[in-house]
Amino acid sequence: MADTTTVTVNIRRRPSISDPQGATVARALRDLGHDVSDVRIDKTIELQVPPGDADSIRAAVTEMCEKLLANPVMEDFEIVINP
């Protein structure tokens, strides 16, 4: 049995916020001859937390996201608790 639970947080830049990195990568891929219409680059944060019930883990990680992991001005987050 694992002694920690893995939680994956996907941090996604809001569509309204420009993404210079995604735009640059899209251009580079097209320069290399690939047919790509859009690229977005986001962050995935994987946390090891003490095991517990899903609700309390979700509550704790939500707090981490709101406080630190995501910037509400430009990002949304989604939490996946790995089974």
Partner: protein, 230 residues
Amino acid sequence: MKTAVVVFPGSNCEHDVVYALETLGGSADLVWHRDTDLSGYDSVVLPGGFAHGDYLRTGAIARFSPVMAEVNRLAASGAPVLGICNGFQILCEAGLLPGVLLQNRDLKFICKPIHLRVESTNSILTRAAQVGDVLEIPLNSYEGNFTAAPSELASLESAGRVPLRYSDASGNIDATNNPNGSTNNIAAVSNGNVAGIMPHPERAIELILGSADGRILLESFLESKVSSHV
């Protein structure tokens, strides 16, 4: 007036800011980010650098430093609070200024002198300057590309809270003289007694180093009095 220059782990412009403020007749001390008492100070500078390595997002971790409670208190009391470069990013993350600073449009670090046009004198950075002045100041950043939600941008612009924009040497403001993709060429943002600027005025206070145009910005800051802008 005595200024606290906050040192976060990873700050690196703190000594330069103290040197510049003192050269201009101010008085400044370095304070560590774990300090919890800034009662002896009547203004604050958050200097440039890479607080906490800029990991996660620039300024994201620094905003939780113990000293930030005092920075908030001083800001609320009307004391001048200035963020330069990384300090600007921290003030945005802390919610003292609106918006965020994204990676530069070309995804490259930029270190070079650029021109700024004074757009408003209603800020702790520009009160001694004149609208239309063009200043040559070094830019030195990877994440200097300012953006904000449309409603925030609209209110920044309509309230004249953009004291400085990127321009060319004659003061023209357009996409060709926007070094980093910043929305509306915004180089600095003001919120009452709080301001953030991406280029480094402390690097432009002596002609022997290339330009003395940063003096007027730091002199404005030093002349700003508590509560004068609230």
